[in-house]
Structure formats: structure tokens, C-alpha cells
Symmetry: C2
Subunit: 381 residues, 2 copies
């Protein structure tokens, strides 16, 4: 049976990327590999929309999140954590582990943080050294207003904005330098169309200033050491050679197509998917800023979201269920990375069938028709 | 030009392993992937010769080394570091980062640690909670006497033995349970015949007791969390799916061939290589316990070891030079993992030519003849 990964990570990897990674191993200190790393470094800056170095780690995104805490703060520091879902909680856990006092700004699941609330908290407590947030909260399908948050932290020399863009970067534009993001963290296995195993972090000059003051212990995720190595086209420890070969292939493609077109493609899929849900009488779980890389949907009354997921899997279609407090209540369809209209229409069709089988009547084709109308209107990219 | 990786990591990956990793991504929470992880977990125990869980991390070996420190000790603890090469130094660096007092037992490069010295230091300072050592010190080609060191720490309930076997495990037998090793750390890119990107750690019940007392911060490399996930056939964060598929392929092969045969194969190559060096009038750099996975050789008088490496590269043959204080003085030929007699003979032939070109006269074929005599005598495995 074919397996359609419509989950928010890992996402499908293109066959040509898989073949690029199947090339014989080359030595990570060889001129050939260093040349490849040089190419990758330049292309990562394009993707991150930054002039800063994008650090590469053999790890999954969580490793770079840990690095973002351990490299910028010290024990006893205070941080503000925007917590509006499962991944917001991770920032709090990380702060707790490192003895950083986390002031939690709780956001109701399904909602986006209000930048004014953040400004108010920063005004009330000037000791707050970092604001931790997700660009796209994968557990709720909500995009937090990063541009507006950056506007809040920009004028405050004592506070940095740290953004987990693991499920967002490459999915929609997050111009790091233009907006003034201080630390931008990403991973390989979502919109970047690679297997899991690479984590990334880029830091603004302001954030590098924080690194100098930071006293928390770090070794494998030592950002300063990684920067020094990167400038020599190396990584501090053995480079994950095969994944880097895949990264070069993917970044080359992204650059050739162009970020604008990729983001327009994702938006087109997102609009079509959301129109289909509406036509099927379903409600989005994401009340504010529904993400363009993910559609989070409330399961209809009487239908278990987890059952929707389980039944679709029997058709080879993998979407995600809800996590923690949203478990059973929602299901989530990702449309980022190596996903096209064929995947999306097949998923919508499968969903119509599954919902009907689970007792929620859907007129056959009503979701598909709505999606198709959007696709017809919005030019293919 | 073909590229022959005779370096001590990364080592060549078999084409069938590369193809296994080129399979479509499967979801890391799917029953199919969990079944694969279950298989891998059992096979890792076979390789580590342990009944304990072998934890898997998306990282290179250094990450698991950091985890070994951060999960077993607390700030202010004292540790003994066997420092007889570049990788011994890494343990000291890690201790320093985490506020662990490192009592350094300096071993002259090229020599193995004397277990009696370790016992003496432990007697003199009962506060020492951990002994950190390399199984195979890659920078010098020396195997430290792990069995004897374990005999020293075994009877001391307050001290654990932590072994970095990154360049040894899968190359020669290191029976964790039988010898009584407390923490055994490994990586994917050496004798395990995989690309870099996976790190492993296994802990004895005694070491797990230390984990309970440890107060150092850890998150990504949290061993307790990894153990809890492993028991459910999962990893705490997104699994490096493609590398795990490669791991399954490799471990299946290792189990089928059998560890004894693999170790005998490596020993045969090692003997042939060392005989060739001797026949060419060269001296081993490793004075004690020359490793069976690596042959470290003193460059002859007047010949720069780095030049030997550089000239061989022009023939497509990649060996390693010396590091730090051994730079220029030595060269190192690895024979572990997916390496056979063809690779070895070709390397010896290339070396004969290169040394002659660099002014050190070698009678053509003298090294090859000596190697071939060993290969003829020792049955192929």
C-alpha cells in the first residue's frame, strides 16, 4: 500500500533527495565536502532570509531548541514563554532544566498570542531576558504573530526573541533579519523535505552578544564552537555527511524554484484544504491565524478525532490526531514540503469517506468540489 | 576517481545500506516503524553484548559522550579521566563544562593506561565517582585495557567506568555485561558501517543508580527519558527514520555473519597491515596494545606524515594523518567496517609508491608480499 504522509513531520522526501543521500560517503574534512558545506551555508542563509550564519547540528530540532536556551541564558535568568500548545510547553521544560525562571504566558489552545500581552509583561518585568515562542504551534495549527512580537523585542536591548520555526521554516516566509528575530531554530524533517536528523539555529548580532554573557553548560550544542567551525566550512564534530548531501539537493531545488513560489504553493493548498473542511461543515480548531502549513480541524460532534486518523491510515493516508488536551477532539492535515494537489485531493476524498463511515454524513464530493474551486481560481505555482 | 575511505570514521557504507536508507520515510509513531525499532533494539543488545537497553540518539558520538557525563554526575563531583590522546582530552573538556572536577591521568601518546595506576588513584581519592576512558584511542591507535579497568571499578560501588567505544564497538569484542562496563558509548559512522548521525549509550544497573542521583542539566540527551521511550519502541523526539532503516539493515547483516567472524576479519586485516608496515621498515606509533581497527604508523625520518596522507589522496585513497602533538609525525590506516583485503592491498601498494616518491626507498612489493603472507596463513572469514 502506498503511504501518504500528510503529517506535520516527518513529511515525504523526494526520490531524488533519497538518491542524493545514497551516494557514497565522503570524508567530512575533505575539500569536496567542505565545498558542499560552503554551498549549503549560502543556501541556508537564503532560506532563513538572513545574513547571519545558520548553524547545522546532527540532531532533531529539539536539540537546537535546547541550544537556544543553553547558549543565551544563565542560571537564575528570567524568560517569558509563550505557551499555547504542546511545543510551547517544551520551552518551559527546557527553562526548568537549566534553572531559568520561566514566566509562562498561557494562551488558550487554538489561539495566537497577543503581542500587546507580551509587551505588557516585558514592561512589568524588565528582568526578562528572552521571549520563547513557536512560529507555528504544530499542536494547534496556529501561527503566532512573529513579526509583531519582533517589533516588541526589537527596541529592548536586554531581551531577545527566540523562535522555534521547526514546523514553519520553508513553509511560509519568516524573514529573520527584516523582522528582527534574534534566534531562529529549524529542523530538517518538515517543510525542508528531508529525513529527520538535522537541526538549525541562526542568531542575530544581538543574540550573539547574549551568547558571550551566557554561563549555562553546553558542549555538543555549543553555538560559538559551531560558528567557528562553520566559517571554515566544517562542523565541530563528524558531519552527518549523507544528510548534508540531501540538504544540498533540497536547498538547490528551493533556490531554483524560489521561496515566493514555494510559499504560494503552500498557501494554495492550505486555502483549498480549509475550503474543503468548511464545505463539509467542519470547523477549524485554529481560531486565530490558521497556519498555511497545517489545517487543524475539530472533529464533528460524536466523532472521535483519533478514530478519523486511524481509519484514514487504513487507506494509506497519514494525518495527525490531537495531542494532550486536544487528543480525540481534533485531527490535523499537514500540507508542507513535498506535497501537491494530488496528495491533498486524495486526502480530502478519504476523509469524506471516513467521516461518513463514522456516522457524520458528508455528501460525496462536497469537500473535493470546494477544494477544486479554490485550486481552479488560484493559479498553480 | 574512486574514493577509498581508510579513515577511522566516517568509513564506507555498503550500497545496500544506502538503498535501505533511500526508502520512503515512514512515520516515527507508526506501528511499522515501532516494529523496526523493536528489531533494532534487540540487535543492538547483541552488538553491545548486554542485556541492558541501548539508547539511540540522533547525534554524533560526542552527543552520547556529553550525555554520559550529564546523566551520571553532579556539579562538584570528581572524575578520573584517562587522557592518552585527542579523545581523552574530550572527556576533560566535558567535565570542565559541567563543573565536574577532572583528575587527569596523563598517558604518553602511543601508550595504554596501566590499570594499576587507575586503582592507585581511586584508592588515594575515594571521592572519584567515574573513570572516563576510550576503548580505542583513535588519535594514537592504542586500545586501552578495558577488561582490566572494569575489574578495578567493579568492586567499588561508588565509581563507574564510562567507556567511549565510538571507534571500537563493532570492530572488536567489548562485552559490556561480562566485563562489567557501566556506560558504553558508540557512534554509527565507524565499525557500524553507517553514515554519521546516530549515537548510542548503554548503562549498567549500577550506572542507572548514578543517573538517579545526578543533578546536571540535560534535556535532548536525557537518558531516563530515552529509556522510557525505548521501552515503548519509540524515541523521545522525532526518530531519525532513514538512519534507523540503515541501522536495521546493518545490524541484520552483523547478526547473520556473527560478531566472532567480523572481529576475526578485522584482526586478519590488522595483522596483514601491521606486517606490511614492518616489512617496509616502518615502526608502529602505538607502543602498547596496537588496535585491531586501526594501524598508526610513525612516518619515516625526513618524511612528513601529512604529505603521505596528501599524496595518497591523489590516488583516491583516504587515510588519516596525526592530530595535535602527533601531527606530521604519523599516519593512520583504518581497517574497520565495510573494508576488505582488496581495499587494504590497494592502500599498501599506494603507500609503497608514495613513500618512495617522498624519498623513503621501499622495494616495490615488499609490503604487499608481507601482507599477502599473513592473508594466506590466516583463513579468510
Amino acid at each position: 500500500m502506498k503511504m501518504y504522509l500528510m503529517t506535520p513531520g516527518p513529511t515525504p522526501v523526494a526520490p531524488e533527495t533519497n538518491l542524493a543521500m545514497a551516494a557514497p560517503i565522503i570524508h567530512h574534512r575533505s575539500p569536496l565536502f567542505m565545498e558542499i558545506l560552503g554551498e549549503v551555508r549560502a543556501d541556508l542563509k537564503y532560506l532563513f532570509e538572513t545574513e547571519q550564519e545558520v548553524l547545522i547540528f546532527a540532531a532533531t530540532g529539539t536539540g537546537a531548541m535546547e541550544g537556544a536556551v543553553a547558549n543565551t541564558l544563565s542560571c537564575g535568568d528570567t524568560a517569558l514563554v509563550v505557551d499555547g500548545g504542546k511545543f510551547g510547553e517544551r520551552w518551559t521544560e527546557l527553562c526548568n532544566v537549566y534553572g531559568v525562571k520561566a514566566e509562562r504566558l498561557a494562551v488558550t489552545w487554538g489561539h495566537a498570542v497577543d503581542p500587546k500581552e507580551v509587551a505588557k509583561m516585558l514592561d512589568a518585568n524588565p528582568a526578562i531576558k528572552a521571549v520563547f515562542v513557536q512560529a507555528n504551534e504544530t499542536s494547534t495549527g496556529v501561527s503566532h504573530p512573529i513579526k509583531e512580537l519582533a517589533a516588541v523585542t526589537k527596541g529592548r536591548p536586554g531581551t531577545i526573541l527566540v523562535v522555534d520555526a521547526i514546523s514553519a521554516l520553508g513553509g511560509y516566509s519568516i524573514p529573520m533579519d527584516k523582522w528582527g528575530i534574534d534566534v531562529l531554530v529549524a529542523g530538517s524533517q518538515k517543510a525542508m523535505m528531508l529525513p529527520p536528523g538535522l537541526a538549525f539555529a541562526a542568531l542575530s548580532p544581538k543574540a550573539w552578544g547574549f551568547v558571550k554573557e551566557s554561563k549555562l553548560p553546553k558542549y555538543y550544542f555549543n553555538f560559538s564552537k559551531a560558528l567557528k567551525s562553520a566559517e571554515k566550512n566544517q562542523t565541530p564534530y563528524t558531519s552527518p555527511v549523507s544528510l548534508i548531501l540531501g540538504l544540498r539537493e533540497v536547498l538547490g531545488k528551493i533556490k531554483k524554484v524560489g521561496l515566493d513560489k514555494i510559499y504560494a504553493h503552500n498557501e494554495r493548498l492550505s486555502k483549498a484544504c480549509k475550503a474543503a473542511m468548511k464545505a463539509m461543515g467542519l470547523e477549524l480548531y485554529s481560531k486565530d491565524n490558521p497556519s498555511t502549513v497545517l489545517t487543524a480541524v475539530l472533529a464533528p460532534a460524536g466523532v472521535d478525532g483519533q478514530k478519523v486518523v486511524a481509519e484514514l491510515r487504513k487507506k494509506g493516508i497519514w494525518i495527525a490526531g490531537g495531542q494532550a488536551e486536544a487528543k480525540g477532539k481534533i485531527f490535523r492535515i499537514a500540507h508542507m514540503g513535498f506535497i501537491d494537489t494530488v496528495d491533498l485531493l486524495g486526502t480530502i476524498g478519504g476523509l469524506e469517506e471516513v467521516l461518513t463511515a463514522l456516522g457524520y454524513k458528508v455528501q460525496p464530493g462536497v469537500g473535493l468540489k470546494a477544494a477544486q474551486e479554490v485550486l481552479a481560481k488560484e493559479a498553480a505555482v
